[in-house]
Symmetry: D2
Subunit: 361 residues, 4 copies
Amino acid sequence: MAGNIFGKLFRISTFGESHGSALGGVIDGCPAGLELNFDEIQYELNRRKPGQSSIVTQRNEPDQVNFLSGIFENKTTGTPIGFIIYNKDHKSDDYKHIQNIYRPSHSDFTYENKYGIRDYRGGGRSSARETICRVVAGAIAKQLIKDIKITSYVSSVGDISINKSYKELDLSRKSIERHPIRCPDPSIAEKMIYKIQKIKNKGDTIGGTITSVIQNVPIGIGEPVFDKLHAELGKAMLSINAVKGFEYGSGFYGTKLTGSQHNDLFYKNGKTKTNLSGGIQGGISNGMDIYFRVAFKPVATIMQKQKTIDRNGNFVLMEGKGRHDPCVLPRAIPIVESMIALVLADYWMYTKLSKLNTPQY
Amino acid sequence: MAGNIFGKLFRISTFGESHGSALGGVIDGCPAGLELNFDEIQYELNRRKPGQSSIVTQRNEPDQVNFLSGIFENKTTGTPIGFIIYNKDHKSDDYKHIQNIYRPSHSDFTYENKYGIRDYRGGGRSSARETICRVVAGAIAKQLIKDIKITSYVSSVGDISINKSYKELDLSRKSIERHPIRCPDPSIAEKMIYKIQKIKNKGDTIGGTITSVIQNVPIGIGEPVFDKLHAELGKAMLSINAVKGFEYGSGFYGTKLTGSQHNDLFYKNGKTKTNLSGGIQGGISNGMDIYFRVAFKPVATIMQKQKTIDRNGNFVLMEGKGRHDPCVLPRAIPIVESMIALVLADYWMYTKLSKLNTPQY
Amino acid sequence: MAGNIFGKLFRISTFGESHGSALGGVIDGCPAGLELNFDEIQYELNRRKPGQSSIVTQRNEPDQVNFLSGIFENKTTGTPIGFIIYNKDHKSDDYKHIQNIYRPSHSDFTYENKYGIRDYRGGGRSSARETICRVVAGAIAKQLIKDIKITSYVSSVGDISINKSYKELDLSRKSIERHPIRCPDPSIAEKMIYKIQKIKNKGDTIGGTITSVIQNVPIGIGEPVFDKLHAELGKAMLSINAVKGFEYGSGFYGTKLTGSQHNDLFYKNGKTKTNLSGGIQGGISNGMDIYFRVAFKPVATIMQKQKTIDRNGNFVLMEGKGRHDPCVLPRAIPIVESMIALVLADYWMYTKLSKLNTPQY
Amino acid sequence: MAGNIFGKLFRISTFGESHGSALGGVIDGCPAGLELNFDEIQYELNRRKPGQSSIVTQRNEPDQVNFLSGIFENKTTGTPIGFIIYNKDHKSDDYKHIQNIYRPSHSDFTYENKYGIRDYRGGGRSSARETICRVVAGAIAKQLIKDIKITSYVSSVGDISINKSYKELDLSRKSIERHPIRCPDPSIAEKMIYKIQKIKNKGDTIGGTITSVIQNVPIGIGEPVFDKLHAELGKAMLSINAVKGFEYGSGFYGTKLTGSQHNDLFYKNGKTKTNLSGGIQGGISNGMDIYFRVAFKPVATIMQKQKTIDRNGNFVLMEGKGRHDPCVLPRAIPIVESMIALVLADYWMYTKLSKLNTPQY
């Protein structure tokens, strides 16, 4: 397996299973001299933490990260940053019943076929608990590129969606964090929460979308032709559990337009009047806002009886056990933002190398 | 710049500008002993070629590839495969007028800012002419994974779209290639062509979507957690010029469903009754069809007057010159398929290493 | 910084400073299904452990590794293997005196210039304590390529050297481990130990060489042209603290020979009569023994007064404190072998991909 | 195969066989804005060219490079630089006789075993003709890091060697290029040439060493712990055809010294009085001269009868044909320097990212 390292210059290497003793990782390539704000790191972890509200899983984890290296007197030293998060409240007994069965739309079947062996407890590596390491690294990446503002919010749950552009919304931290669903439109937020509660009561789950906006991005980030900025952002989003789609700028809607409708005309200062391009042209940031939308499918684990198969190909009846999210979206917000930060930190470093006589960090 | 290498095991490194003397690349990592069908390679190039029909650009290029190494008696030798395609019909004079101006929604502005210098002729490296190298490499990749069937077709042009699942369509080569638009639904194809002609006559362009279907994929391809199969496919698609979005399986539509609606229940043999997962679970192929949809924006170069700026920040009036596609979709089909093949060849090789006692190639 | 990941398919990412709370790492890419022998892993760590004899540093560390993921019921699962080793006996007070000074022939000066900040305690990341993670990963790599026999021994200390080919020596584990210096020639071993004791009593240190022999290597390992097998082995050796040189096969001596003297003539079965090539031709293993020699300089920390400078450019008089090795060679043996195993495991995996119809693992 | 890409930030990807139609490559990652001196590139190629004197192979090649992309008005544009060198004077008929036999100490046997197929003409990819692409890329890398002075010279041929430190020699271009053997000590140079002529007349070949000196290196280049500067330099040297050993600074000789003898004491300004460290401490350049020695074995192709085997395991008598070098050293000089330049350009770029507030390019 080769898929547990992300980034090239700002690289993270992560490990850990849902019910192992710990998860953790190594950040290699963070420049030296960055003074870390540990409260901000914990703040991001808390946003991802289970049990934070009634609409998410009730697993009880402190989710505190221990940094083991690479930091001296609160500053990064240029050496790798090792970190670890111990699992405390893993109840593996809840998973004995799936030891020999493949849950529908989970990765039990594919992991077992690919690797010939499977740590079934809590879904093992395929559990979204893995993303905690992304949030640790992403929180550091955010601090490295501190002038860039990354904002994400829940823009739809099922068929309830915000019908406004991000520009019409209050995207302050306060506004988004006010509701447990992390939707900045208060009336829509209420409807979303009501919907999730109703779905949860039926033992079911629901999907939705997250919208992200990246502001104050320097011009010039992105590495054509294969590593265009939006291509890497798309990959980063699609690597998150349950993500089924990604569109940036005009996205799928833009396919219906003509060139004369779609082209973003310039102001004299290089800004554009419209921004259907979504802040990226030719794979390189143009200084306008980058914005995109990410599709999350409903969580596969439902608290209903389902007919499925065991590893011998026999039908069995299974019922969801364990503590699960009826809707991943609110907890996915910090994960989405972390992956954005990881991409941007990595690419921002590349940008220092694009041409001779580049301004310094 | 670092973005001109794609893949890790089956790697391509490409070069070339739209109006330079040649484009080409190096394939490193193709296993030895693969007997090449050169007609098939040229067939793919012909599908991408300008001038093939009245609805594409009329630039006249033979687009013949010369292989320079890595092949002996028609077989790959395990050494790198160098290849070159000479440019014949580049009319750089057509581009003199854009030497000092930034075309709207092109990458003139971003390239110049990132690199401090820009080869303006024909858009330089940012031109889709670059993709010819992807098609050469992809055509070889296709032959390496010859049991996997990759099919792509135009599923919408502007607001004209096929309202059928890919399963209801005749996806044979003959069916898709019958119409220059490469849409397998004959009546829709006619409408699309009519639409494009109308748009072209106005000097305008139009976007659309391509649907891809990958069949006969072995179980086990994909490298979680960061290099999930659909994440890399998404990146590959988003790296193609003009792409604004990617969704696989249930995609954005799936966000509106509940878990009980979305879960794919198993047959006894491990196949699933539905396939909202799109052939991938946990980032690993499950043996079902992989399918996805790619959004293309309208081409930015239009044959209409547009007000834009020069590098000094003055407004100028420009008109599109050169020979351009009113709609990139038909020529994008082989490019999309090539990028799929490159991802699958690369990941298929990784799969050989997932576990001990893996079956041989 | 980007230098803390080694290998491409069997990859390790390590972290940790000499006096931090812990060291550790992540192994990504170990195939699933490998049953681990933990005693063998600890055996290798014990060979590297401080305090194991009177001729090495007396720092007292249990050096026990905790595996945190990637292993289920004693077998690798294909997911990343996280591991950690806690530091127990670090006496950072011993290093307060070097906080502001640059020790001669250490990396205090270069780290501080490169990173602008330095964790001075115990040498931080530049300490050879870092190599403990290499030994953990190397011990697993050894088990992956278990048919390949890797043997290393001390072949010289200062001017005392074995004047025999490896073929004339008893290279069994028992023979090499009999003496704390890990030299398989008993009378030379005694002389070496005597020499080191004498040097140690003067507060001085001494260099030497290690010879490695790799037997039972399959034909075909190595990736020309840049990643020739001996090139990667050389890099791996040179990445170990204190290494100043590497020669394989005929090495520097071979430069004095003519082609007719140097050529290895074949037997009918493809073996060669002589083996001046050192088991590698054109960068690819040929099935003969691979052997090489590695040069280690004397440890820079001596228990003598030395005049040096502080960070303000003033001369200061310093005396070595802390617990140090008078000669790194005996403890370097498992490190050398681990780096060999890491290279071979990585390259052995590549070899599965060289040609179609490759035999399975 | 995966070994044809070198470097991570300044990356080259090369292709080509000795008797194919062309060799070439792609440079990806050269910063934009570098004004190229093409005469200097050709100068380096001429130093590597066959037929330049009576002591090298008489193959007659113009060895002119064509640049195909990435350069606009003589400056790099940040896009990949494609280049090609056509083969003109390959006489493949000279190699028909080795089609089915394995030449001693060549890679015929290993390539055929690894890949199952072999382009026997002129040794195919294993021929040192491959290094021409390294020289093209290296010549550009040299221009990127133009303040760093890279000098190499032949320091021994067989048992004839310069017994002086590099500091006692005139290392000007004029001094080294005066004699075809590229040894700056005139009387030793005469002896070397005489020796090579004598060896050549017997149809035999001879080995030797090259010494390299790198001056004016900024402090801070090198990426511990695995990618130490000398480790990558060592790998780069060992990747060159016929190289058997590498030692830097005190090298193998240093193993005989004590710490008190070996330590380089500081001047107040951070320079050191001695330089046994060879300009690198802890894997990072310290601003002193970097110097090392590279061992080349004698060329395997001799103009004498040798008994060898064919692919069926039968003994055959073969005689060297073709045009070969009796001693590779003089032509290896630009290759060695090119590999140094490639390592330094790559690592120099990394150094821009080591810490925040780094000075600009």
